[in-house]
């Protein structure tokens, strides 16, 4: 008997029991949809983390004031003012360090015409954009000269630019920050979300000196909020960390055996943790969803076993008119497989729809790859073959005379 004819017989049998076929398929649909949805969410989270990490800039170390273990760190922004501009310059001259970017931050209100927008104002040097690997999308970055002369000049993040200017090009326009007029030098490229979930495009950057003198006037002159340092290479991260610790202890005159009054954070270690966590979450979501697929598979086995028992006489008749064991096996196996494949396809469609709904409803990033779809489909077929095989073999192993006598 040709495979096509057997598929025909299997489809006919499934059509005869529409309700049962539908309900069995439902188990499969839910299982596959859950797997697709969970993988989409998991991979979305991974993508988000990876984007945040790559948006950070590479080989990054961050130095913040205050000891790691003391309460000082907790006291938040600017409470401890132990880092200075000259610390940053000293670190920049270390052999393992390529560049440093000292920065100060605060929030301020921006006005352009009738529009106003409250956002984070960050005072930086041009090195900041190098360390963050952040280019200007329009206009040009402000320069070292602007920093030296504390010019009132600003770079806008994409979101800030959009909120203040709409479709207008802000470059060359004047904006008021805390009521002081600033010339907009340009708009930065899109950066996206940071690891802690902030929108990095909601920002405005001004020369650090301008910030110190004119915007955040209450700060000690020359102190900075924290600094970023870029190591020469990924291999030199740890060396840079050690050198920076040593240099800053020296500069801050931290006595032997005393705790640092600053903390150096190696971002490579942090990103490894974040990537790992996202991966684990992705795997766990997939594993949880697979359980429903397993339950769907058991449902199929259950129904197929009932079906084999119910149709024992039919099997006997088919054997009496010439069906061999393979034909019987294939018929029942294909019935299970058809349920799984149709259920799997519907499940994939519903999973994709669900993922889209989730991303629309809660703004979560979801990612559906070709691999996910192939995996879900393969899983569904695998479940069909695995759970359909036992009932099918049971049917095929019946003795013709006994099957015929079955009431």
């Amino acid at each position: 008997m040709s495979l096509l004819a057997i598929i025909g017989e299997a489809l006919r049998a499934l059509r005869l029991n529409r309700l049962r076929t539908g309900l069995t398929m439902l188990g499969m649909i839910i299982g596959v949809a859950a797997v697709v949805l969970m993988l989409a969410i998991g991979q979305g989270a991974q993508t988000m983390v990876n984007q945040a990490i790559s948006s950070m800039g590479s080989n990054l170390l961050i130095v913040v004031p205050g000891a790691t273990s003391s309460g000082a760190l907790r006291s938040g922004s600017g409470a401890v003012q132990t880092l200075t501009m000259s610390d940053a310059q000293a670190i920049a001259s270390l052999p393992s360090v390529k560049a440093t970017a000292p920065l100060i931050t605060g929030t301020a209100q921006l006005n352009y015409g009738a529009n106003n927008w409250s956002t984070v104002v960050t005072g930086v040097t041009p090195d900041y954009f190098e360390v963050r690997e952040w280019a200007a999308e329009s206009g040009a970055l402000f320069t070292e000269a602007d920093v030296r002369s504390a010019t009132r000049i600003a770079m806008l993040g994409q979101l800030t630019a959009k909120n203040l200017f709409g479709d207008e090009d802000p470059t060359g326009k004047m904006v008021r920050i805390k009521n002081s007029p600033f010339l907009i030098a340009g708009v930065l490229a899109v950066k996206g979300q940071s690891l802690d979930g902030r929108d990095q495009d909601d920002a405005v950057f001004i020369p650090i000196t301008t910030g110190q003198r004119q915007i955040f006037g209450n700060q000690f002159p020359g102190t900075i909020r924290f600094l970023m340092a870029q190591a020469e290479s990924a291999e030199m991260m740890e060396e840079a960390e050690a050198e920076m610790n040593q240099l800053l202890r020296q500069r801050h005159r931290v006595a032997e055996g005393m705790e640092n009054d600053f903390t150096v954070r190696n971002m490579a270690a942090l990103t490894a943790v974040a990537t790992g966590a996202a991966k684990v979450m992705s795997i766990m979501l997939g594993a949880i969803a697979s359980v429903s697929l397993l339950v769907g598979g058991i449902g199929i086995m259950n129904i197929m076993l009932v079906s084999v028992t119910e149709r024992t006489r039919e099997i006997g008749i088919r054997m009496a008119i010439g069906a061999n064991r393979r034909a019987i096996l294939m018929q029942f196996l294909l019935e299970a497989l058809v349920i799984c494949i149709l259920g799997g396809l519907a499940g994939i469609a519903i999973g994709i729809g669900g993922a889209w709904a989730v991303s629309e409803a809660v703004g979560m990033v979801v990612v559906i790859t070709f691999g996910t779809v192939v995996l879900a489909f393969a899983f569904a077929s695998g479940v069909g073959i695995f759970f359909g095989f036992y009932p099918a073999r049971k049917a095929a192993a019946l003795k013709p005379v006994e099957a015929l006598r079955y009431e």
Partner: protein, 252 residues
């Protein structure tokens, strides 16, 4: 490729020798057999049955209920295996055939007709008749054509699209006969084919069998309770408690 090699026509089509069939039952189940003390009871249904049937014969098997007629027919139809003894079909030792080869023999060489018709439910008469052809590897359209021709031959041409539950007993048995004939078998085995039918319908069914035997030379072995059905055949074998007690020509 047929598992049955056609041997010299002098050979009988069916030859059985010292056929025995013993059923093993769990103890507790009633039976007139001998306990073997192992928790099972053996009950012997066929004792040393030997007989030969030649091509073109038309044989009736009679006997009381429980005398082993169906058991013998199932063995002849390769649906069951004897506990001991030999069975040659067209000169081929059935015991030496694999499961697949037996399926092929049932498909190509034998047509089985049952008392209860045994049609596939919720399938049209046409599809019922065509199914053995599908198992023989014939494509769907050719098999439907052939099935239609056979339904026509048994007088059911107009009922091709009917399902078994829409047909009378006699019509269902005609469908079953068409199905048995669809692969041109040499042998038709019919276990009480008229058992569920009224006298008039039985006579019509018997006419079909007689015609198949007379005009197409098909060998027919038929089990019956009724003397007038047996009278339509040309040889009568009587079974009693699993033994052949009578084997003679039916006087014309």
């Amino acid at each position: 490729m047929t598992p049955l090699q056609n041997t010299a026509s002098g050979e009988p089509l069916i030859k059985v020798e010292s056929l025995c069939k013993i059923y093993s039952l769990d103890s507790g189940a009633a039976g007139n057999g001998n306990g073997n003390g192992n928790g099972t009871v053996n009950s012997q249904v066929l004792f040393d049955v030997s007989l030969s049937i030649h091509r073109g014969e038309f044989v009736a098997i009679m006997g009381h209920s429980g005398s082993g007629k169906s058991t013998l027919m199932n063995i002849l139809g390769c649906l069951d295996t004897p506990t001991s003894g030999h069975y040659w079909l067209d000169g081929n030792d059935i015991a030496s055939l694999s499961d697949d080869e037996l399926a092929r023999v049932r498909n190509r060489n034998i047509g089985f007709v049952f008392q209860g018709f045994n049609l596939l439910k919720r399938m049209t008469a046409l599809d019922n008749v065509a199914t053995p052809l599908l198992y023989a590897g014939v494509n769907r359209s050719d098999s439907r054509k052939r099935a239609q021709a056979l339904l026509h031959q048994t007088g059911l041409g107009k009922f091709a699209a009917y399902q078994p539950n829409q047909l009378s007993g006699g019509q269902q048995q005609r469908v079953a006969i068409s199905r048995a004939l669809v692969n041109n078998p040499q042998l038709i085995l019919a276990d009480e084919p008229t058992g569920n039918l009224d006298t008039q319908t039985s006579r019509e069914i018997m006419e079909i069998f007689q015609q198949l035997n007379r005009e197409h030379g098909i060998t027919i072995v038929l089990v019956t309770h009724e003397d007038d059905i047996a009278a339509c055949t040309r040889r009568l074998i009587r079974l009693q408690d699993g033994r052949v007690v009578h084997d003679a020509e039916v006087p014309a």
